[in-house]
Symmetry: C3
Subunit: 127 residues, 3 copies
């Protein structure tokens, strides 16, 4: 898999998504960009001992067109701090395009639509 391969990982707030904006807080459209962001987060996490717990609901498959499934999944993320304090970090939904590639399902596109438009929430980590 080439690093220049096209994909889309995006984090955007619900109001912006509804306005049809294309650029949210996170916007990675090649595999190389994604890998870059993942690496930088792994560094940062050394200094921030939070745990982010994602719980997702069942995935709703909405459509199948030109070899790709469109799907939607609700999520909640709970953050637990080092001292045990817990808070609701983010709630929203994943809007995904999934392709079958060599027998495995792979994300071609994942747009995270956060119910909140608070930027501190959206910038910190991939959701």
């Amino acid at each position: 898999m080439k690093h220049t391969e096209k994909c889309l990982y995006q984090v955007i707030s619900r109001p912006e998504h509804e306005l049809g904006r294309l650029i949210g807080v996170w916007y990675c459209d090649t595999r190389a960009m994604l890998e870059d962001r993942v690496s930088s987060i792994r560094e940062v996490n050394i200094y921030e001992p939070h745990v982010y717990r994602h719980v997702i609901g069942p995935t709703e498959v909405l459509d199948f067109r030109e070899g790709a499934y469109s799907a939607q999944t609700s999520y909640i993320v709970v953050r637990t701090m080092h001292d045990g304090e817990m808070l609701l970090f983010s709630a929203g939904r994943y809007v995904d395009e999934i392709v079958i590639d060599g027998g495995a399902a792979r994300f071609r596109k994942r747009v995270v639509v956060s119910d909140s438009s608070r930027y501190d929430t959206l910038v910190a980590i991939p959701i």
Copy 2:
């Protein structure tokens, strides 16, 4: 599908449910009643820009009798306000009866048993 068709959508608190009470906060037993409530909520939502995010766990099928499945599903609802504030809005379980109708699974009955008995939570929206 006729509008007088019988169904049941009910929201009730756990203590009331355990006492065997039939009437909770929401009680719709025809399709017409349900459609009425849905319409009125859509109006209200214009003025209340909250987002209610439901995350549900796996559905547990408990029984199959006289053409209907009995099933139970835990849920959590998180409310996000316009300013980004998030709170736990409701937690509880769905107690459902599901029938297969023309190849599709349809709810014949959905009782929402809320763990909380606070009425502000229960009245506001269908859960």
Copy 3:
């Protein structure tokens, strides 16, 4: 099923789990021990009218080896008090070993790895 049958139910915090500690807050390794704890909780619950609502995400099957599946599942637990107050009680993941026994899937081992290391959370109830 004999009461001396070996199993493992353990609740442990994430930091302890990562250090490879074997003993957490809960540690039951026979069926008799588990039944004992369950009985004592049922007594206690008479005096504590809280409701603990678990919502779990999809189960990820990681491995199949020597007749047992290794699986992992994220969870969130919300506690609702008698007066309707709700709080995030625990978030974390289940690390399980599941065997097929007479056509049914059964837990041979369940380790609850809590994201929080606050002991009040971990001691109170099985998660």
